[in-house]
C-alpha cells in the first residue's frame, strides 16, 4: 500500500482523483493550500504527495521549498493542467520526481504513483519534450559537461516517452530492461534538478514570453 496525500485547491478534482486511484493506493488525506499541505505532510507522513502546481499561497513550488528545505525525503509527483514550460521545469527543479497532466487516466496515475514511491522518476510526453528542447538549445558553454548534457541513450529514451511509449514499450524497442529505462529517466531527472545551467530556467521563462 502506498500512502498518498492529495494537494489541490479544487475539491471536485481531489474527489475525482480519489475515486480513480487503484487498490494499491491508500489516500491518507487531502490539503487545499500551501499551509495545510505542509501541516498534513508532517502529521500524516505520506509516501507520495500528489501536488498541484497552481495553488493559493505560493503554489506547489512553495510546498516543495518548505518541505524539502527542512530535510524531508518525502516524494512528490506534480499534477497539473498547465502546459507552461516555466511551471513544468519549475516544479521539477524544485524537487518533484515527476510531472503528469491532469488528463492522465486513473490506471496510468496509479502506476506513476507506485513508480515515484519506489524512487523512480515519471515523465509525461510533454515533460520529455520540454527536457529535449531545453537541453538541445544549449549553445552557451556548459560548466559541468556531465550534468549539462544528455547521453545518446537518455535522448533516445526521452524521445520514445515523447512519442507516447510506456516504459515497457521503450524497453522492448531499445532491447534493454525496464529497470535500465528507469535508471536513464532518473538520471535525466537528476541532471534536470542539479544542472547549474541557468539557461534551463531562462529557457523555460523565455518560452512563455515569446
Amino acid at each position: 500500500m502506498v500512502k498518498v496525500l492529495i494537494v489541490d485547491d479544487h475539491r471536485l478534482f481531489r474527489s475525482g482523483v480519489r475515486a480513480e486511484l487503484g487498490p494499491q493506493i491508500e489516500v491518507v488525506g487531502e490539503a487545499e493550500d500551501v499551509d495545510s499541505a505542509v501541516a498534513a505532510i508532517e502529521s500524516l507522513k505520506p509516501d507520495v504527495i500528489l501536488l498541484d502546481v497552481h495553488m493559493p499561497g505560493g503554489g506547489g513550488q512553495e510546498v516543495l521549498r518548505r518541505v524539502l528545505g527542512s530535510g524531508s525525503s518525502v516524494r512528490f509527483l506534480a499534477l497539473s493542467v498547465s502546459d507552461a514550460a516555466e511551471d513544468v521545469i519549475g516544479v521539477i527543479r524544485g524537487g518533484a520526481r515527476g510531472y503528469v497532466t491532469k488528463t492522465i487516466s486513473g490506471r496510468e496515475l496509479t502506476d506513476a504513483i507506485v513508480r515515484v514511491s519506489e524512487g523512480d522518476a515519471v515523465f509525461s510526453p510533454r515533460l520529455a519534450g520540454f527536457v529535449l528542447d531545453a537541453f538541445a538549445s544549449s549553445e552557451a558553454p556548459s560548466i559541468d559537461p556531465e550534468l549539462d548534457s544528455l547521453t545518446t541513450r537518455e535522448r533516445e529514451v526521452l524521445r520514445l516517452i515523447a512519442r507516447g511509449y510506456a516504459y515497457k514499450e521503450i524497453a522492448k524497442e531499445l532491447f534493454i530492461s525496464v529497470k535500465t529505462v528507469e535508471t536513464h529517466v532518473s538520471s535525466v531527472l537528476r541532471k534536470l534538478q542539479l544542472s547549474n545551467r541557468h539557461e534551463l530556467s531562462r529557457w523555460a521563462t523565455a518560452r512563455r514570453l515569446v
Binding site: 538541445a136 515523447a162 512519442r163 507516447g164 518560452r207 515569446v210
Partner: protein, 408 residues
C-alpha cells in the same frame, strides 16, 4: 447675497444651494497661498484659470516695459482683501523666489536680444505667450493642476536646486552686464547666455521630469487597459460562445466532448504557446493540422513538439502525409488517444504519429487503398523524404516520417 429662502433649513435641496455660483462674484485677494498680495490668485479664481498662469503673465509683463508691475499694483489697490480672522497664513517664499528668478532670467534674455525696448514685435510675443499659457492651462485643467502642484512642490522641496539656479542666473546676468560694458565681445555674451539657460533648465528640471513620469505612467496604464480589454474580448468570443453551444447540444455527448476539447485546445494555445504563424512555422502547422483532425473525428491528439523551423515545400508535403496518418489513426485504430511527436533537428525533421489501437497487417492492405502507399509513403519519397510504418494486429500503429531540413 443669498438666494436661499429662509425655509431652506428643512428643504431637501438645501445642500445644492451653495454649489450654485453667484452670477458676478466679487474679486477678492485670498490670504492662503498668496505669494505677494494674492492678486494673481484672486484674478485666477475670477477667470477660472490656474494662478500659475496669471503669475507667469505678470512676470512676463513686468519684464516688458514694467507693465505687469503697474497692473499688479492697480489691482492690489482696487481689490479688497478676503475677510480673514486670526493670524494670516505665511507666504510661500520658495515660490516667490522661483518667480523672481524667472523674472530675472527673462530680463537678462530681454537685454541680450534687445526685446525689452518695446515695439509691436515685442507686444505680439507677450500677448501670444500669455494666450498660449491660458490655452495650455485650459486644455485639461485636472492634469495641468497636478503637474503644476507637483512642480511647485518639488521646487519648494529642493532649496538647493533653486539656490544653485539662482546663483547661476545671477552670475549669468552680472557676466552679461560686464560683457555689455566691454561691448561687442560676442563670446563671453554667449557663454553667459548659456549659463542663464542652464540656470533656467535647472529650475525647470523637476517639472519636466514630473511631466515625463506622468506620461510614462499614463502609457503603462493604457497598455494594461488594452491587455485587459483583449483578454475580455477573447473570453467572450471563445469561451462564452463555446459554453452556449455546449448547453444547446447537451443531449449529444460526442458534440459536447468535441466542443469542450476544441475550446480547451484553443485556450491552451492562447495561454501557453508562443504566438506563431501556422503557415510559416513547423510546430504551429503540426498543431493546426492535429487540431483539425481532432475537431473532425473527435479523437484527442496529444502533441509534443521539440524545436521549430520555417516551412518549405518538402515539409508541407510532410504535413500532408502526417495529416493522412492522423486521419487513418482517428478513423480505423479505435484508440482513445493519438500521440504526435514532431522534432526539428539540425539536419532533419521527424514526425511520429502513434496510436495504441488495433493495428493491421501491412500485407493485407489491398493495392487500391491509396491512404498509406500513396498519401504517406509515396508523397514523402517524391519530396526526398522517407516514411516507415510499424504496425501489426493488436500492436497499434506508428508512422514515422523524416524529411531533410534544407531543401536540396
Amino acid at each position: 447675497m443669498r438666494t436661499c429662502p429662509f425655509t431652506c433649513d428643512d428643504a431637501p435641496e438645501m445642500s445644492e444651494t451653495p454649489t450654485i455660483p453667484e452670477a458676478y462674484p466679487r474679486m477678492v485677494r485670498p490670504l492662503r497661498g498668496r505669494i505677494v498680495a494674492g492678486v494673481a490668485q484672486g484674478a485666477a479664481a475670477q477667470l477660472r484659470l490656474d494662478p500659475v498662469v496669471l503669475r507667469l503673465a505678470f512676470v512676463l509683463l513686468s519684464v516688458l516695459d514694467g507693465l505687469g508691475v503697474l497692473a499688479y499694483a492697480a489691482l492690489w489697490m482696487f481689490t479688497p482683501r478676503e475677510p480673514n480672522e486670526g493670524e494670516p497664513p505665511g507666504r510661500d517664499w520658495g515660490q516667490a523666489a522661483a518667480y523672481g528668478v524667472l523674472g530675472m532670467a527673462l530680463t537678462a534674455f530681454g537685454w541680450l536680444t534687445g526685446a525689452s525696448t518695446g515695439g509691436v514685435g515685442t507686444w505680439s510675443i507677450a500677448v501670444g505667450g500669455i494666450g498660449t499659457l491660458i490655452l495650455w492651462q485650459q486644455a485639461e485643467p485636472g492634469r495641468r493642476q497636478r503637474w503644476m502642484t507637483d512642480a511647485v512642490r518639488q521646487v519648494r522641496r529642493s532649496w538647493i536646486r533653486t539656490g544653485m539656479g539662482l546663483l547661476l542666473v545671477v552670475i549669468g546676468a552680472i557676466g552679461f552686464l560686464a560683457a555689455q560694458g566691454k561691448l561687442a565681445e560676442a563670446r563671453p555674451g554667449l557663454v553667459f547666455t548659456a549659463v542663464v539657460v542652464g540656470g533656467i533648465s535647472l529650475i525647470a528640471a523637476p517639472w519636466l521630469t514630473g511631466l515625463w513620469k506622468e506620461l510614462q505612467k499614463e502609457r503603462r496604464e493604457r497598455i494594461r487597459q488594452e491587455e485587459r480589454a483583449e483578454m475580455a474580448a477573447h473570453v467572450h468570443d471563445s469561451v462564452l460562445h463555446t459554453l452556449t453551444l455546449i448547453q444547446r447540444n447537451a443531449g449529444d455527448p460526442f458534440e459536447v466532448t468535441r466542443l469542450a476539447r476544441s475550446q480547451e485546445r484553443e485556450l491552451r494555445n492562447w495561454l501557453y504557446q508562443p504566438k506563431a504563424d501556422a503557415d510559416a512555422s513547423m510546430a504551429a502547422a503540426v498543431r493546426r493540422v492535429a487540431a483539425e483532425i481532432e475537431d473532425e473525428h473527435g479523437v484527442p491528439i496529444e502533441i509534443v513538439c521539440v524545436g521549430d523551423c520555417d516551412l518549405h515545400d518538402g515539409l508541407r508535403a510532410m504535413l500532408h502525409a502526417a495529416r493522412q496518418a492522423m486521419v487513418n489513426a482517428a478513423k480505423y485504430a479505435e484508440a482513445p488517444v493519438i500521440s504526435v511527436y514532431a522534432e526539428v533537428e539540425a539536419e532533419e525533421v521527424t514526425v511520429f504519429v502513434r496510436d495504441r489501437g488495433k493495428g493491421f497487417n501491412m500485407d493485407d492492405v489491398p493495392d487500391d487503398r491509396m491512404g498509406i502507399r500513396q498519401s504517406i509513403i509515396g508523397r514523402m519519397e517524391r519530396h526526398g523524404g522517407s516514411a516507415r510504418v510499424k504496425t501489426g494486429p493488436g500492436e497499434g500503429t506508428e508512422v514515422m516520417l523524416t524529411m531533410k531540413r534544407e531543401q536540396s
